[in-house]
Amino acid sequence: MDTTIKDMDLKSKLISTFHENRELFYKNTPAEISALKDIAIKDFERLGFPHTKLEDWRFTNLANALSHDYSLSIKPEYQEIDIESIFLCEVPDMDTYNVVLLNGWFASKNASLSILSNGTIIGSLAKAMQTYPHLVKEHYGKYANTSKYGLDALNTAFSQDGIFIYVPDNVKVNKPVQIINVTNSEEKLFVQPRNLFIVGKNSELTIVNCDHSLNHNVKFINSLTEVFIGENATLNHYKMQNIDNNSALINSIYFHQSANSNLTTNSITLNGGLMRNNLNIALAGEHSNADLFGIYLIDSNQLVDNCTFVDHIVPNCTSNELYKGIMDDKSRGVFNGGVLVRKDAQKTQAFQSNRNILLSDDATINSKPHLEIYADDVKCSHGATVGQLDPEAMFYMRSRGISEDSARMLLMYAFANEVINKINIEVLRERIDEMVSKRLRGELSICDQCVLQCKDKAPSVFNIDMTKI
C-alpha cells in the first residue's frame, strides 16, 4: 500500500493524493482518456461523495463507510497467492474463462491480455489502453456520467486498471467469462476498478461477476463498468456478491444497448456490509430488450441498495424488472427503480416489480419504483410488496408433518427461487441455488468459496427468530 490518508477528510485527501501522484494516474493513458481524467477530478471536487440529501441516496448513508483512514492501491500489486486456484473449483462443472482482479488490479500469472481464436480479447484494461487504444477510446467514458455523479467522477479520475472484454462482430463466445473481484489487504483499503465490455454486432457473451473479500478488514470499493451491446447482440450478466460486513461496495454499471440487442442482468446479493448496485440501462436502439433481476438476502446490520434506471430512449423497446429480498434482524433494503420513457419512445413496454419479505420488526425496506412517461402509446406497470410468509401455506405444510422451521425455509426458498430460475446456465443456477439454500439455513460463510485465506471461518448466519412470525 502506497499512500495512507489521515487527518484530513477523505475528499480533500483523495484530491491531494491525485495531484501528488499525477504521473501514476496518467501513465500509459491515451490523450483522450487523460482529458477525461482532467474533467473528472474537477467534477469530483465539485460534487464530492453522495450524501443523504440527494434523492437517490436518501436511505443509504455513506458517512460511516467514508470515515476510515483508507489506503489507496495506486501501483500494480502481485500477491504470492494462487488466486485462480482458489476459485477454480467454484462452479465445478462450469467451464469458464477466468479473470481475476486483486484490489482492483488485473492479476494473472499468464498474459495480461488473451486473444481467443475467435478474436475475443479478455484481460487487463490498463494493458488494453496501450495495445488497443482505438477500441477502448470508442466507448470509455461514453456512458458513465462524471458531471452528475461524484462516484463516477472519482472512479474516472483514479482508476488505473480493471477488466477489458471485447467480442468482435458475429462471435458467440462459447464459455462464460468469470470475473472474480477479490480484495485482500491488511490495511483499510480504497479500491476503484474500472471495467469495459464491448459486445459486437450479432455476438453473444455471458459474464459471471463475483465480488468477494478474502478477509474482514474494512474496504471501500467504488467499481465502475461500462458496457456496449451492439446490434442484435446478447449479453447475459450475472453478479454474485458475497462480501464481509465491514466492506462497502459501490457497483455502478452502465449498459448501452443498440437495436435488437438483448440484455439479462441478475444481481445476487448474499452478504455485504453496505452494497449499492447502480444499474443504468440505456435502450438506445429500437427493439432492444432488457431484463433486470435481483435477489438480496440480508441480515444483521447489512444494507443493500439496488438503484436501477432504465432509459427508454427510442420506440419499440421492452424492459422487465423483478427484484426480491428477504431481510432479517436490523438489515435494511432499498429498492430505487426508475424507468424513463422519453417522448419518442412509443410502443414501450416496461414492467417493474419489487417484492420483499421482512422477517423481523427491526428490518426495513424502502421501496420506490417510479415511472416517468412522456410518450402516450406505452404499456407500463410497477409495484412493490412487503409481507410476511403466507400463514395458510405454513399451516398446510405443517399439517403434512413438516416442522415450522422447514416450512419457513421452503417458503423463503420458493420466494427466492423465482429469481434464481431466471438464470439460464444450468450449472450456475444449481450452484447459486445451493448457495441461496445454505444462506437461508445460516450455513453460508463469506469465506465459503475460499479455502486459503480466511483465518476467521465464522459463518454469517441468517438467524431467523421463529417466534417473530
Binding site: 403466507d390 395458510e392 401455506a393 399451516f395 398446510y396 405444510m397 405443517r398 399439517s399 403434512r400 408433518g401 413438516i402 416442522s403 415450522e404 422447514s406 421452503l410 417458503l411 426458498y413 420458493a414 420466494f415 427461487n417 423465482e418
Partner: protein, 254 residues
C-alpha cells in the same frame, strides 16, 4: 383411536362447535354430513391443529394422548391427515420437494433414516398410480394452477405418501366431476386397512356411493344430532336436511 368429548370451539367469540362428541375406532369409516355452516370444516381444522380456533371446552383424545396439546406437525407425524377442502397453492415449492420433506420428517420422527432419492422417487411413482396422477404434475409447484380435480387428487396422493392412521377428508367431493370422484374414492378405498380409520365430511350422498361408511352422522349447529348406518345418508338425500331440522324442533317442543 379417536375420542372427542363435549368439544366446544369458537372463533372471534363466535361459538361454532357446541358439545361435539365422536368415537372412532380402527378400521371404521365415519361420514359426517350436514348443512352449510354447522361446523364440519371447523371440526376438521381443529383436529388437524389449526391455531385460529379457540377450544373453550371438552377434549380430543387420540391414541391415548391429549391431541390438543400437540403441534400440527406432531399430529401429522402421529398419523393424522387432513384432506383440505381448499388445498393451498404454494408457488415455487415443488410437489417433490414438499413431499420429500414431509416423508423424511415423518421418518425422522419414527427414528428411521431418510429415504434415498431413488427410494423416494420409487415411492412417488407407486403412489401416483394409485390416484392416476400424471407424471408431469409432480414437477409442478404444490397446487399452483391445478384444476379442482387435480387438487383433490393431489390431496389423496399426499395421503397415500404419508400413510396416515386417521384421515379426515373435508369435502373432498366438492368441485369434482364424476370421473375424478371415482378416482379419488378408489384411492381412498385402496388405502383402507383394518388398522386405519377415516372421517369423510361431505354434503352429498354421492361420494358415499363409492366410499361406503360404517357410520353416518348428521351435524347441526355444532354437534351431532343424529347417527346411523349407511342408510341414513340415503334417507337424508331423499328427505333433505329440513327433515332433521323439523325432527329437532319437534323434540324441543316436547
Amino acid at each position: 383411536m379417536l375420542s372427542i368429548k363435549d368439544l366446544k370451539v369458537s372463533i372471534n367469540g363466535k361459538k361454532i362447535l357446541n358439545g361435539f362428541n365422536l368415537e372412532v375406532k380402527a378400521g371404521e369409516v365415519h361420514a359426517i354430513m350436514g348443512p352449510n355452516g354447522t361446523g364440519k370444516s371447523t371440526l376438521a381444522s381443529v383436529i388437524a391443529g389449526r391455531e385460529i380456533f379457540e377450544v373453550t371446552g371438552g377434549e380430543i383424545i387420540y391414541k391415548n394422548q391429549n391431541l390438543l396439546a400437540l403441534a400440527p406437525e406432531i399430529r401429522a407425524r402421529e398419523g393424522i391427515f387432513l384432506g383440505f377442502q381448499y388445498p393451498v397453492e404454494i408457488p415455487g415449492v415443488s410437489i417433490t420437494n414438499f413431499m420429500k420433506t414431509a416423508v423424511n420428517e415423518h421418518r425422522k420422527y419414527k427414528g428411521l433414516a431418510p429415504l434415498t432419492a431413488t427410494e423416494f422417487l420409487a415411492l412417488m411413482d407407486e403412489k401416483k398410480k394409485l390416484v392416476e396422477l400424471q407424471t408431469k404434475l409432480a414437477n409442478r409447484s404444490v397446487n399452483e394452477g391445478f384444476s379442482g380435480g387435480e387438487k383433490k387428487k393431489n390431496e389423496i396422493f399426499q395421503m397415500a405418501m404419508l400413510n396416515p392412521d386417521l384421515s379426515i377428508l373435508d369435502e373432498t367431493d366438492s368441485g369434482l366431476d364424476i370421473d375424478a370422484l371415482r378416482i379419488v374414492a378408489n384411492g381412498v378405498n385402496k388405502l383402507k386397512t383394518k388398522d386405519n380409520a377415516s372421517i369423510i365430511i361431505t354434503h352429498y350422498q354421492r361420494l358415499l356411493d363409492y366410499i361406503v361408511p360404517d357410520f353416518v352422522h348428521v351435524m347441526y349447529e355444532g354437534r351431532i344430532v343424529k347417527s346411523g348406518g349407511k342408510e341414513l345418508a340415503l334417507e337424508l338425500e331423499e328427505k333433505g336436511y329440513d327433515w332433521i331440522k323439523k325432527e329437532l324442533e319437534e323434540k324441543s317442543n316436547l
